[in-house]
């Protein structure tokens, strides 16, 4: 595990014992309880960690100064975990002359990793409407 960076599989993705929905415990009667906003956040992060990261790891571009690039996408997720439209580029930082050839590719592969990862494993009971997520993609 990398120091200084948290691992949602160890901490953030821990099932919420009082909540409901995917990854949550249920009460003895089986009656659904309601997740808190923090628990929902954890659930979303866990889904991203489990599904987007491996996809990006398989297709991330390589090149000189690739570790400088950070691509931020806005992803909108429906309550059933499907994408609500195409992921949108928010910003890209760390551009250098050497990584210019990979800048567009970095965006393309980030978008592809989200598309391949969707639909995310979320419970429709977790929230209503569209959840907006900003993802910062980086290769180190």
């Amino acid at each position: 595990m990398v120091s200084g960076l948290s691992d949602p599989t160890q901490r953030d993705a821990r099932p919420a014992r009082t909540g409901t929905g995917k990854g949550s415990g249920t009460s003895g009667s089986g009656t659904p309880a309601t997740k808190t906003a923090a628990q929902i956040k954890q659930s979303i992060r866990a889904s991203i960690y489990a599904e987007v990261r491996p996809k990006f790891a398989q297709i991330a571009p390589d090149g000189v100064d690739i570790d400088q690039l950070v691509t931020t996408l806005e992803v909108q997720v429906n309550p059933n975990g499907t994408l609500a439209g195409e992921p949108r580029l928010v910003s890209q930082t760390g551009k250098t002359d050497s990584n210019r050839p990979q800048q567009q590719l970095h965006v393309e592969r980030a978008i592809k990793s989200v598309k391949l990862a969707a639909p995310f494993a979320m419970s429709e009971k977790d929230f209503v409407g569209i959840q907006v997520i900003q993802l910062e993609f980086k290769v180190r």
Partner: protein
């Protein structure tokens, strides 16, 4: 290794209330939050890939198997696929699957691939294409690249070539695919000049030779009666600059490829070496030792009086122009050991840029301008490395007993050099990608040294 760092977020709950049926004895669950408000923000950080992208490339289709002077189009479909696979394999980023062991696709599949079949083989990308004989004695080579998981087309190109140039069509196809998948500029459709060596260690025969970037279409330019060194293609590919010791007297020649005639640029009783073109092909840099002092000179490609650019007490040599021709990188031992310096094209503003361990020699400016390749001497090794034009970011790319004389691929992302084996003294031409991840040896006729890459073919 991965990380998933978190950031402070503001997660807002809406006031939306959903109608929830009430159950006796059971407290009503609170409503799920709506998704309005500040977005969740997370980092998806991954390590650099250590594996290679699996690219399937079955033999290309042909609408009708036709005999041509280049071969039957069905056989050409296999051969073109093999050339593309070999080109991609040498870059370090791709692992070709096929064409051997794969079925030949039908013409219908060229534009409608069986994605499920290729996904089942683990292919991330898929190359399809066709070879067609045309009534006007040409060939059309179709070249398609697909994303297997997204089932989308990434490249669609067609090349109409004469029979003689069918290999170039394959290289162009590989270039298009490489450029699309890596983001880099193409470089396969190019040629290499080098010195072919043969004979015993103390009596080597050195001949100037040229070949395609993959070693095909090889031919010798000189017959070995004189020693030739350090060839360089002109920027327009029409000629080759090289140094020749005829009768132990150094001469700089330009060989015209079309007419097969050579022209003397300059000769001297003094030791002369390392001729290099300017980016516009109008002038030539070289080094010359006069009275025990070696300096860098510039001369018009048509000859004339050279202009002395350095005037230091040490040995200055190995000049190489920046891509815009405004600066020159060279090596000098004025500090007491060989180090890399840069100066303006007129010789002014000379500054040392290498300060790492060991000596730094034979600098070559990348055609992209962002890096300088060099040979580092130290610890009993000659190694190939790169640094920025300001001298920062020094990285070593090879680690062998004796690697030297780096030159750049046309896209500035692969470095070619020659490696001398310890003991036998045998030399070979090698390539390493600019990340240092992948090395490969280029096949030459006998031993090979002093490789130089030409630009992308026009």
């Amino acid at each position: 290794m991965i990380s998933f760092a978190t950031r402070p977020i503001a997660f807002l709950l809406s006031g939306l209330i959903l109608a929830v049926p009430l159950a006796a004895q059971t407290p009503p669950p609170a409503q799920p939050p709506a998704a309005t408000g500040a977005p969740v923000r997370e980092q998806v950080i991954v390590d650099r890939r250590q594996d290679e992208t699996l690219v399937a490339i079955p033999p290309l289709a042909t609408p009708q198997a036709t005999d041509t002077p280049a071969g039957n189009t069905a056989a050409l479909g296999q051969q073109v696929a093999a050339i593309v696979a070999n080109d991609l394999d040498g870059t370090g980023g791709f692992k070709p699957l096929g064409p051997s062991g794969l079925r030949t696709i039908s013409m219908a599949e060229v534009t409608a691939p069986a994605f499920g079949e290729w996904a089942g083989k683990g292919a991330e990308n898929l190359i399809h294409g066709f070879v067609r004989a045309n009534p006007d004695n040409t060939l059309t080579v179709g070249c398609y690249l697909y994303d297997v998981s997204l089932k989308s087309e990434l490249v669609r190109q067609g090349y109409v070539v004469g029979y003689r140039d069918w290999r170039r069509a394959a290289h162009r196809c590989a270039d298009a695919i490489y450029a699309r998948l890596s983001g880099e500029s193409p470089f396969f459709d190019s040629r290499i000049a080098y010195i072919a060596e043969s004979g015993p260690k103390d009596n080597r025969v050195k001949r100037l030779a040229i070949m395609d970037s993959d070693g095909a279409n090889h031919s010798f330019i000189t017959n070995g009666q004189s020693i030739v060194l350090t060839p360089r293609f002109s920027p327009d590919y029409k000629s080759i600059l090289y140094l020749s010791y005829l009768g132990k007297r150094p001469r700089i020649f330009i060989y015209d490829i079309a007419s097969k005639k050579q022209r003397l640029v300059t000769e001297s009783a003094n030791q002369t070496f390392s001729p290099r073109w300017s980016p516009d092909g109008k002038s030539i840099l070289y080094s010359m030792a006069v009275g025990g002092n070696t300096d860098i000179y510039r001369i018009s490609a048509s000859g004339g009086t050279p202009q002395q650019l350095t005037n230091g007490p040490g040995i200055e040599t190995g000049g190489s122009f920046s891509p815009d021709g405004s600066r020159i990188v060279f090596e000098s031992d004025r500090s007491g050991s060989q180090q890399v310096y840069v100066m303006n094209a007129d010789g002014s503003n000379q500054q040392r840029i290498s300060f790492g361990a060991g000596q730094h020699a034979t600098p070559e400016w990348s055609p992209r301008g962002d890096l300088i390749a060099f040979t580092r001497i130290g610890g009993g090794q000659f190694r190939i490395g790169v640094m920025s034009p300001s001298g920062g970011g020094e990285r070593m790319l090879t680690s062998s007993w004796q690697d030297e004389a780096p030159t750049w691929s046309p896209n500035g992302r692969v470095i070619q050099f020659f490696r001398t084996a310890q003991g036998s003294g045998k030399t070979g031409v090698w390539q390493v990608d600019v990340t240092g991840a992948k090395e490969r040896r280029i096949q030459t006729k006998g031993d090979g040294s002093d490789p130089a890459w030409g630009n992308l073919l026009p």
